[in-house]
Symmetry: C2
Subunit: 213 residues, 2 copies
């Protein structure tokens, strides 16, 4: 029995479309990221990562410099990664993958959100567009949380993905810039974590030549 056939036995086309979406996005549990769990037993997947972002947003919302509608932040976060079911996770420091990322994710958004009844398809797509555009206070805060989470994991797992990716403080500072844009407090936290990571030898400082350039 597939999602397609649900409509027949339910006699409720709208609910059938909603279930088809729910069953499809469940695949997010199988999309792996590079980030290790804090216990280092394995890398995390997009679904559990998303849950953690939502909890972080609930706990840390007060640190947004601008007032945010936390419901919109949560709704945006909960669906922001479902495009990776088709497009895959693009590693933060993969410049080759990043080049085609936007196009791949746009195609995915067109397919996946269209599974929903039209009004919800438009609503969810608008949330995804808002997250990507980083223009509203809510999307800036949601993006900040999405950057802070892997920083915490890399820091608390002795460098996490940093050593293998060969990144330096320059790369990490650039990647974490959206945090300070949304929150002075969380921006200071990220800066301090990067400094401490260098002190502890788990992140390579930028080479002098690069820093001078």
């Amino acid at each position: 029995m597939t999602a397609d056939s649900i409509g027949c036995f339910l006699g409720n086309q709208r609910l059938a479309e909603q279930l088809a979406f729910i069953l499809e996005v469940e695949k997010l549990k199988t999309v792996l990221r590079r980030t290790p769990l804090l216990d280092r037993s394995r890398v995390e997947n997009d679904a559990e990562h998303t849950w953690q972002l939502a909890v972080m947003a609930m706990v840390l919302a007060e640190h947004s410099d601008e007032p945010v509608d936390i419901l919109r932040v949560l709704r945006m976060l909960l669906i922001h990664d479902v495009v990776e079911i088709d497009a895959g996770d693009t590693f933060a420091y993969d410049s080759v993958g990043a080049a085609s990322q936007a196009e791949r994710e746009l195609t995915a958004a067109q397919r996946i959100f269209a599974l929903l009844p039209q009004d919800q398809a438009e609503e969810f797509r608008a949330l995804w567009d808002e997250f990507e555009a980083k223009v509203s206070a809510e999307s800036r805060f949601a993006n900040a949380i999405d950057r802070l989470q892997p920083l915490l994991h890399n820091f608390f797992t002795d460098g996490g993905t940093w050593p293998a990716a060969g990144v330096t403080t320059t790369d990490v500072h650039r990647r974490m810039r959206p945090i300070g844009v949304a929150s002075e407090t969380l921006g200071s936290l990220s800066t301090r974590l990067i400094e401490l990571a260098v002190e502890r030898g788990i992140l390579v400082p930028a080479p002098a030549s690069k820093a001078d350039a």
Copy 2:
């Protein structure tokens, strides 16, 4: 470096407590449930399960018979399982485990929410208490979603956990009762899925003697 030492270098005790909570509840990714993923590759964990419930609540909220504050539903769902970090997942059809479940989860709630700054500890604990009490419209709907998700997974994986657990329609109908309490539409869906599961031979009907009793 542990969460305890974060406070020292941050000079921000409130943020340090918030981070300690965030780092602690991340363990939810390692708490395994019995429910299989839809692709049957493995069982799901509590963190990704929770993400799925939140998405389902976003999509299906219109089917609640009573109007619900969807933000409170989402906040409740996002933290409702963190007690299982200490208490473990109690299988739905495990009557022995169920006997001590409430006490184990209460002890866990006392420890885990207390990691937060006091105002947030009280707020999160109140959300957890509300979910458990099933008295408000929001908690009834959140509980309905928490029951519907494993039903969908068992149905779409040819019985999932049902055969090994030796459950019958009587057990599943009892377990799914909260769905119909919150939503006539979703209650009809669950009843229909149980009927179809019997027709397809993936769920055992209640024995006649038991049904007559």
